[in-house]
Assembly symmetry: C2
Homo-oligomer: 277 residues x 2
């Protein structure tokens, strides 16, 4: 039985507004990066930043949806005014390429290769099925570990995205890391909006570092992230799985797969990150 | 027991020479793209092109090795003179960013975000084990299907890389596709050189399209490819596995994992490609 939807209705302060881009006077695009999407210490989440860049790529493209985005995170990015410089590449009936540079007065902070196309909901010829995860109401909120530690800075991202952890991968939240760098969770936007290709870009970097499953806590800065969006997602919760293939020599990869509420694989990502110190 | 190495010794016409870049008169870098690394019809392999771009990124970096490369394939690229335009980004003790544009007189054909660092062989904290695959001598050469079809153009790449297919994923070569978009093979360079971070970039796009496992034959052009290099590989054959997560609406992803001769995970990649028509 589907759960009643108790979220507040979408407001202009939601995801769409926080990732909006608009024409600047004198040319180019600007965005106002929202301080509410941080991962602590005023540093904005990498998926949030990539969603802003995806809006910029789609702004100039004949196609409406991001299908492949690859980003180098040149430095940590904080909130405030940002410029987006889009250099269009070849564009055709099937897809269009561009590069997007996001930056501020201090210079570029995110360099993105973007491919846009027009996504649909065609049934796949082949698709990886979703893993078995308990229903949302049997999964755990991210503060399942007890009262928040007042010495740990609050993470804005967690207020923007409702997250329900698969208990099998949530041992770290109760002080008992599973020993495997794997996390699974149901997610949806707190603002009440349904998932779309841009929120899938956000979800592709939304979970805590999988190194927490190994007991290695702390922030894990993204170095390079590729996101593929494969289909328009159905309304409802999305299931996100993140898995490290190798943790070694200060580096970690995170391999994400995202299924929509119907169990359709709708997005994939892989990032290279630095391990927490 | 290791097999005797019957390959010819490395020659200047091998992988290193075919991917070399050098300073151009008047600034910038140039390469002479080798016609012997094609995938048919004079179109060069995407992994080969990305290896050339990786050499250009390393040329200007304080660090010697590519660790993350993300490339948009703007159009098919043929052999001959090419220019490489490198725009350095932030560089530090741990890593350096840059962007690389490969092109010719007709304009850019490959746009790359590159991260370079210094790789080692530190034992991993966590690493995905290699799948069970029969030893090289029990695997199949790629022409296991019988005499070459004279109507099919020869693929130069196959002469440069020795490939031994896992029989469990080689049904397509005998006219009996397995029904799964998965391929595994042992690979090494024909020129006798040992694997290094640059040949791993090549190996990250070296297998036939996994759609052949579904009986969907033909060329599958890469749209965007990300390659992560995780460690210096040991000498010997590398084991490459490619797997599609979803095949739908004319698109396919290919997720590669590469282990060295000791079973260490040394590289990963994911690409978005168009399905064969």
């Amino acid at each position: 039985m589907p759960q009643p939807d108790r979220r507040p209705p979408a407001t202009p302060s939601g995801f769409a507004a926080a990732t909006a881009v608009e024409r600047a006077e004198g040319g180019g695009l600007v965005a106002n990066l929202d301080p509410g999407w941080d991962v602590g210490a005023g540093i904005l989440n990498g998926g949030y930043l990539l969603a802003v860049a995806a809006r910029a790529a789609a702004f100039y493209s004949p196609h409406p949806h991001p299908v492949a985005l690859s980003a180098s995170y040149l430095r940590a990015t904080g909130p405030g005014a940002a410029t987006l410089t889009v250099t269009p590449g070849p564009a055709g009936r099937t897809l269009a390429h561009s590069s997007v540079l996001l930056g501020d007065a201090a210079g570029p902070s995110l360099a993105v290769q973007a491919t846009t196309a027009t996504l649909g909901t065609d049934a796949p010829v082949w698709s990886e099925p979703a893993p078995r995860v308990p229903p949302v109401e049997e999964c755990l909120p991210e503060d399942a570990g007890g009262p928040a530690d007042p010495t740990v800075p609050e993470v804005g991202l967690r207020r923007q995205v409702e997250t329900r952890l698969d208990p099998a991968t949530a041992g770290w939240a109760q002080g008992e890391p599973s020993g495997e760098p794997v996390m699974r969770a149901w997610v949806r936007l707190t603002d009440g909006s349904v998932p779309d290709p841009f929120s899938l870009v956000l979800f592709a970097d939304v979970l805590p570092p999988t190194s927490w499953g190994l007991g290695l806590f702390g922030w894990s800065p993204t170095v390079q992230l590729q996101v593929l969006i494969r289909a328009l997602p159905a309304p409802g919760w999305c299931l996100v799985e993140s898995r490290a293939g190798e943790v070694a020599a200060g580096w970690m990869d995170e391999n994400y797969r995202i299924w929509d509420a119907t169990g359709r694989l709708v997005a994939q990502s892989r990032q290279l990150a630095r391990l927490p110190r």
